[in-house]
Symmetry: C2
Subunit: 181 residues, 2 copies
């Protein structure tokens, strides 16, 4: 472990949490400040669940702005958080357990709550100002937990994708952290 | 550009292609050789479309074995391939345009072909033996191309996710490559 300094695992975890806090609070300025600027900004990539990639800082922030504008309420409970640092790259893999409020319609307010699971890969770059988001790939977890591994599940393309073993203690340790340097 | 040497963008692209060639040919040994070994192997992560993450070399390879065993025919046409190298980390973002053969049943053979789109993030580590796969995150593209950006589409969790602009020439240039060092 490299302590709690600006390039540490703790700071990487804090940057990851800040990303989700920005979504929860619909704080576009915070989100904007979290993404890389300068020469690396053009190579920013964002994949939102069920969508193709958007690339470049402008497109990435535009997508976040649209999500914020269209989300009445959202809260993230992160599990299976895994963090690695390799040189100046920080990689976070986590499951987003999402609680969202469905819009009540023209009258406003939240009609009902809904839950969902998303798996995310977040890649950060180490900068003089701290970790900055560079790549966010989030995808829906469509498979049900009670599916036996050997059964698999046919996707739209007809491919059978195997599941993970939920009983694997190494995989499911919410406090599991690893570091690569 | 750093030329065609062992750590070059060209070699990173070759490693990425080798990953898909291994799936197409159901060559488990090739796939096994493509993934990192040693201390970094435990932190390997794979997310297959619609599924949660599997972590660790054993689980990752087990998932690939199951996919290979359950896939009659699969072919990948990669578009929107983007590659970056930061220090000893290689990142590839690409769209997998997948052609699969649906099994005819007990009589064997391919009954019919089916197409699908998947967006993938592949992270490689630079090793003395060349690039080795370390993280694969693939997710289904469920959004239709004719959806207007401002319409969005409600996911299961009720969140409206914005789409990408397919007319953005920077995003859709299939030959677009960038390098970060």
């Amino acid at each position: 472990m490299s302590g709690a300094g600006p390039g540490s695992l703790e700071s990487l975890e804090a940057a990851n949490l800040a990303l989700y806090a920005a979504i929860e609070t619909a704080d576009f300025e915070a989100m904007s400040n979290l993404w890389v600027i300068g020469p690396d900004a053009d190579s920013s990539v964002c994949v939102h669940p069920g969508w193709p990639a958007v690339a470049g800082r402008g497109q990435v922030l535009r997508a976040w702005a649209l999500i914020m504008a269209n989300t009445t309420y959202i809260q993230f409970f992160l599990t299976d958080v895994r963090l690695w640092i390799v040189d100046d790259v920080g990689v976070v893999s986590c499951q987003e357990n999402i609680l969202t409020g469905l819009d009540a319609g023209p009258s406003g307010g939240v009609a009902q709550m809904s839950g969902g699971k998303v798996v995310a890969t977040n890649v950060f770059r180490r900068t003089p100002e701290g970790w900055r988001a560079w790549l966010h790939h989030a995808s829906p977890v469509l498979a049900t937990d009670d599916t036996d591994d050997t059964d698999g599940a046919a996707s739209d393309s007809g491919v059978v994708w195997p599941g993970s073993d939920d009983n694997d203690p190494d995989y499911n340790d919410p406090d599991g952290r690893e570091q690569q340097r």
